[in-house]
Subunit: 259 residues, 2 copies
Amino acid sequence: MPAERILEHAAPRLQAAAARRRRLRADRARQLADLLRHQARTTGFPGGVLPLEGRIGADYGVSRNTVRQALDLLRTEGLVERQPGVGTVLVAEKYPHGLDRLQGLAETLREHGEVTNEVRTAGPVSAPAPVARRLGLPEHADVLCVERLRRLGGLPLSLDLTYIPMDIGAGLLTCDLEHNDVFRLIERLSGQPLGTADITLEAVNADAHSAAVLEAPRGAAVLMLERLTHLRDGRPVDLEFIRFRGDRITMSGLLRRCP
Amino acid sequence: MPAERILEHAAPRLQAAAARRRRLRADRARQLADLLRHQARTTGFPGGVLPLEGRIGADYGVSRNTVRQALDLLRTEGLVERQPGVGTVLVAEKYPHGLDRLQGLAETLREHGEVTNEVRTAGPVSAPAPVARRLGLPEHADVLCVERLRRLGGLPLSLDLTYIPMDIGAGLLTCDLEHNDVFRLIERLSGQPLGTADITLEAVNADAHSAAVLEAPRGAAVLMLERLTHLRDGRPVDLEFIRFRGDRITMSGLLRRCP
């Protein structure tokens, strides 16, 4: 068989092998990116600078191309940047939010900086049926509706929409909502501590409007927390829909096999 | 002042007022979308069909334009679709994953359908330093690395990467990983139940490769779960990086103010 015929026959197999190598490299790059992301969040890197590509490759037993592809993934996520003369540096800090304990944002992030709240809306609205039902109120009863853009270190962290029964909500309207967690204020106004909260977490893409408010790219991944909080006596007092910027928060907790 | 001068003077104010109305409508649409999303996930809608736009508007006290905009948001998320002659119908079901108890995917979703696993990789690798450290192994010790694409009802639900020490991992290689949760298999092989797991949740945008594997659009929001699971005696035995399709899963749990 002439050489060109042999090559022609071999071409599909060579192409398939090349596609397989690309797939394997993409898998490995993703796996490496996961490990680097984890390290960034836990022990960190000395001086916030990642090791050289060759060093990472040796540490993780992968090729330099795989390292480059992994760093590209982290760059796309906005976690690292290349700085000429310095290397690959961490640029985004993700803040840990506990899943083990019911806390307000300022309480949970106290050691990471000051949480400030820009109050976008605060006033009574007629409770839509699902809100009234969850808060144990008659349909169309008035509830306080508060929307806040919450910042940590000046940068938007979350957009929180909160519904609160008016007997507590009316008092809230006279409080400093810019510098206080609603949780603390509810405890002060109701004269009893909070008890438990039912939470649901989802990952959603930010719609154009939420993205603009959060100063994030359109379609950015958002960690959405829905939370119904009760007083210690069991009464539901706070229904929230919170959109956290995905690039700024992680939620951590401990699960038990047999609770 | 002639009429055209009056209009000229009024124009900036009218424009500002129009912008404010648009912003308010966008806020209300998002707030309504949050309530409808919640209802879709909990009580649902009779026959999976949402009420007519006029009915929703009356129920929630908002204009029909706001209802349309809210339904647009849910459509963009892939939660609802417009079907001619039927109305707006729910098309995506989000499955609840518990945050209260450590369970495998098949265990936790048992009532929702069968979980099947496509094993993409299964074999020993030299443990990178952060993996070795978390599993309490010497650096570069062999660990079993398993990557599975997990499906519920045939559709991709998550892409799971798992690292397991070889003394348990070697046994796993002889098991049916397609139809069993790794948790159950580890308990069988180790002869003891699992104890606790440290988990971290994040929302990230899917990179092109993960999106292709999960059959989701590029950039789709992904709920990323990192989980380090221990045997009851405290030994860490399973380090996982799990990417859930954001449009198919919710995580729910109960938080306590004073645990």
